[in-house]
């Protein structure tokens, strides 16, 4: 099933020709209207006429989150403010938030791409979409909402939080599609269990989860606990919001990135050079239809790889693999690169372990230490010390085997690790304080 079959299945040569045309037009617009791009192109010794084919994109400089902060709030907008119909901002955990503006056409594009994403994930008109992404400055809630309406589905704008009420509404309203962060879906499952609600009795069929990295193992866990098909969606407010890329339900293997609107590249985050198909690196995106705030070679900080292999679903758009972390979340522990999601994958693979964990990185003398806090579920608990100690040792060994890093596993009481309605905080790095 497609929402826009013509564009979703456009043969690659036609798709690439369209990309080039749209790229050139975007470059002309930003060069003329955004002083930042005029200056950054000049500093790199290029102008829009230098881009004659898609590979020429590599000649252009990157745009970073810092560039957006420096242009706070409206410096990167490419249209006069009166053309902007919506303003969103991403959470500013470090300093000012990054601000994005949408023209009416941008909102239309976003709604279509989100509607395409819903269809790719197996949703359709007639579905009741339970949208538990937060509404507000965060793009998740409104992005999914407009896409659901464009699709013609019934959307419940429940937003995040008040989990008991969420569960009641899912039961009573017959929600068939759930959209929220993956960690919140597991939190809901826990709450439902405490309330004596069995997801098998609910109508939920599809879950579309994003806004934080998760793992294949977590997918299995969610699918089992919530009794639905769990799909990964990707997006970021700087580029648009949710719906930049989505897994198709046919393959559940990689997220199709809507290439008629975005050009993806994978780079080495250290050197900035482009990496070949299949290699893991940082995702860089150029928007080629956006009007409000077009971004050229935006460094997402998300780690993935790309594949142009044809997909069984019939879409011709490239697929990126599930995000394996953030280039700036990457922990370097005694010289080993560790992404929290890798540890999560190990934990969920151990039967009975809850996917709630906390990583504590510290430095003793000159040596980095990693402590992995794991909750003891009823399942795992034993009246014998040796059984619990064997469990700790197993966690330590499996992490060592998989990641090559030595850690100490610490068992903690259930529900002591912070749950979150939004993005879960998984790492405490005490080394910064030393």
């Amino acid at each position: 099933m497609f929402f826009n079959e013509e564009f979703e299945t456009l043969p690659r040569p036609a798709l690439e020709a369209l990309q080039l045309k749209r790229l050139q037009s975007t470059l002309d617009r930003v060069y003329a209207n955004v002083p930042f791009y005029k200056a950054s192109f000049a500093a790199a010794g290029v102008d829009p006429s230098a881009v004659k084919c898609l590979e020429d994109l590599q000649k252009l400089p990157f745009t970073t989150k810092q560039n957006m902060r420096d242009s706070y709030p409206y410096g990167l907008f490419a249209v006069p403010l009166e053309e902007i119909v919506r303003i969103h901002a991403s959470s500013g955990t470090t300093g000012k938030p990054t601000v994005v503006g949408y023209t009416q056409q941008d909102i239309n594009t976003w709604s279509e791409l989100m509607a395409r994403s819903f269809v790719a994930a197996g949703a359709h008109k007639g579905d009741i979409i339970h949208n538990a992404y937060g509404y507000g400055l965060f793009t998740g809630g409104l992005g999914a909402h407009y896409g659901a309406e464009r699709l013609g589905a019934s959307v419940i704008p429940i937003s995040g939080g008040n989990t008991k009420r969420q569960i009641m509404i899912m039961q009573d309203f017959g929600s068939s599609v759930l959209t929220c962060t993956p960690s919140y879906s597991l939190f809901m499952a826990e709450e439902a269990q405490a309330e004596g609600v069995d997801f098998k009795n609910l109508k939920l069929r599809v879950g579309i989860f994003g806004a934080e990295p998760w793992s294949e193992a977590m997918r299995r866990e969610i699918e089992e606990k919530l009794n639905l098909s769990a799909l990964d969606i990707y997006g970021l407010s700087e580029i648009m919001g949710p719906g930049v890329a989505i897994e198709c339900i046919e393959a559940k293997h990689g997220l199709h990135i809507w290439e008629d609107h975005f050009i993806p590249e994978i780079i080495n985050p250290e050197t900035g050079e482009c990496l070949p198909e299949g290699e893991l690196g940082e995702l860089v995106i150029t928007t080629i239809t956006k009007q409000g705030i077009p971004l050229i070679r935006y460094r997402t900080r998300d780690i993935t790889s790309i594949s142009y292999e044809p997909c069984i679903c019939g879409r011709t758009h490239a697929r990126i693999t599930r995000m394996s972390g953030r280039s700036d979340d990457m922990l370097i522990i005694r010289g080993v690169n560790v992404f929290p999601t890798q540890i999560e994958a190990v934990l969920v693979g151990i039967e009975g372990i809850e996917p709630h964990y906390m990583l504590i990185v510290d430095r003793q003398g000159t040596l980095d230490t990693l402590t992995v806090q794991v909750e003891v579920s009823e399942h795992l608990f034993s009246d014998e010390i040796k059984v619990l100690q064997a469990l700790s040792r197993r966690v330590e060994k499996e992490i060592k085997d998989m990641l090559g890093v030595t850690c100490t596993a610490k068992l903690v009481e259930p529900k002591t690790i912070q749950r979150s309605d939004g993005k879960a905080q998984r790492v405490i790095d005490n080394r910064k304080l030393v």
Partner: protein, 143 residues
């Protein structure tokens, strides 16, 4: 012939034991025997109480991880060599003691020891065959 014991996971941080005993006290549950096993990171509190099911429910409601195990209560003559005789019997049958602790009250003139064996059924029949007195749970909870 078996006795129900509840075990509670306790993280090694202050106030946890106080919290458990407060909850049990407020629910009117009487602790009949206890043992605390500890490591540097966590502990396991094992309790024999007068109402196991109720204790388990209230502790779970308060967010504790609880499980129930069957243990064996044996009367031990209160004289030198009393415990030794029991352990020698078990040793001959190659039954292992995972842990053991003493019950607070006496039963008649005898002490009572709570045992957790690797093979509970085998241990019970072996003890009875050797004329040791294995106590019923119902009797023990109300000693």
């Amino acid at each position: 012939m078996k006795v129900e014991q509840i075990s509670i996971f306790i993280e090694n941080k202050s106030g946890r034991l106080a919290e458990i005993t407060r909850i049990l006290g407020e629910t009117g549950i009487n602790i009949r025997a206890l043992s605390l096993a500890d490591t540097s990171d966590f502990g396991i509190l094992r309790l024999i109480v007068n109402d196991c099911a109720k204790a388990s429910t209230v502790l779970k409601e308060s967010g504790f991880t609880v499980n129930m195990t069957e243990v064996v209560a044996v009367e031990v003559p209160d004289r030198p060599g009393g415990l030794s005789a029991i352990l020698q019997t078990l040793d001959r049958e190659a039954i292992n003691v995972e842990y053991m602790y003493a019950f607070v009250e006496r039963c008649g003139g005898n002490a009572v020891i709570i045992f957790r064996f690797d093979e509970t059924e085998k241990a019970i029949s072996s003890l009875k065959a050797n004329s040791f007195n294995v106590l019923e749970g119902s009797r023990l909870y109300n000693l």
